[in-house]
Symmetry: C2
Subunit: 207 residues, 2 copies
């Protein structure tokens, strides 16, 4: 095998641990880093090393934040009556690019009892407390809408079902209602290549 300097091999190995980066891509990236200035590499190294140190989870929505309460939760001009539950922070950031102006709650995963991921692991009791608290503090007659935006996967659906069932048992439907993101054809899709479950959902949800 090739005699590659140890530091090149080390960097290649570490880069190859990233998702979607194979050994060849990792090597190509390493040689790219070798040709850049030390300063730019230091910047990259520093942001990677510091990333977790500066971040905590917002004590309200559980999103990553540099403060105790994240910027979105701090905003007071949002719609208190809409709470969107997502699996990951990326999902929240993506929803934020739409015109949604409610609040979020990040589960950081989905329920999977077989892997030991119980409601407690996802901090779901805290979510239920938050929902009760928000519902109680809404103006008289206003209803809290919980928008389930978990992934349209087995696990995502199961997680949404669990939360929805619990809320139905513990809250009056006049106070807390549950909705789900619409299922249907993604924009730009080609009917020819759409799977039948999606097609069936699109048909059911036609308007």
């Amino acid at each position: 095998m090739a005699i590659i300097p140890r530091s090149i091999q080390n960097t290649t190995n570490e880069l190859a641990k990233l998702p979607g980066v194979g050994p060849r891509t990792a090597q190509r990236l390493t040689f790219f880093l070798l040709k850049r200035s030390q300063e730019v590499n230091d910047n990259l190294a520093k942001t990677i090393g510091d990333l977790q140190k500066t971040l905590k989870k917002c004590s309200s929505c559980q999103n990553y934040s540099e403060e105790e309460i994240c910027e979105i939760c701090e905003e007071t001009d949002r719609e208190r009556s809409k709470l969107c539950i997502v699996e990951t922070p990326v999902d929240a950031f993506n929803l934020e690019r739409t015109n949604f102006r409610g609040y979020y709650h990040i589960l950081h995963g989905y329920l999977s009892p077989i892997d030991g991921i119980t409601p407690e692991k996802l901090n779901i009791p805290h979510l239920f407390n938050r929902i009760s608290h928000v519902a109680k503090n809404l103006p008289e007659g206003e209803r809290l809408e919980i928008i389930m935006a978990t992934n349209p996967s087995m696990e995502g659906e199961a997680t949404a079902n669990y939360i929805e069932n619990y809320l139905k048992l513990t809250h009056d439907e006049e106070d807390v209602s549950c909705t789900r993101l619409a299922r249907g054809l993604p924009m730009g899709a080609d009917l020819e290549y759409i799977d039948e479950v999606t097609l069936q959902r699109a048909l059911e949800g036609r308007k």
Copy 2:
């Protein structure tokens, strides 16, 4: 736009400077880093930061090395009569995976006078010195073969031509000969999709 914590944005920005990594991939990588342990991130950060600090260029072949002379140049059981000229260290590492057992010389680029990349910038005078020195010290009657393994591109060919012309002018063909990597069909290629220049070269080089 989304309110993304600054440290997430910083890491995403730095990662997006890597080749082949767009803003979305960079964001995905950042969230991947967030879920890993601090220790693994520190390792990645450290190898990136240290990469250039521990490496210099081998004073003989110009390949990256942690020592003054790289490990390949230090090996004495290689064929002194074969010197392979490549554009990049990756090319040398790839050739090393074949059964080639001569030595290498890395140009770290190709000639491009229009961009100010002159023979001096690529340290080609040093290469010529090295060739003269090796040729002079070969056993009587042995010929030094310079294998041009620059890329089959305009610039690569021009670089090889420049080196070959100089060597023809300065060395007896009995002492120093030049060869080039064969041009032809890559393994697994489909004739239908091969460009005509490659096909023409493959035809010319038939055996």
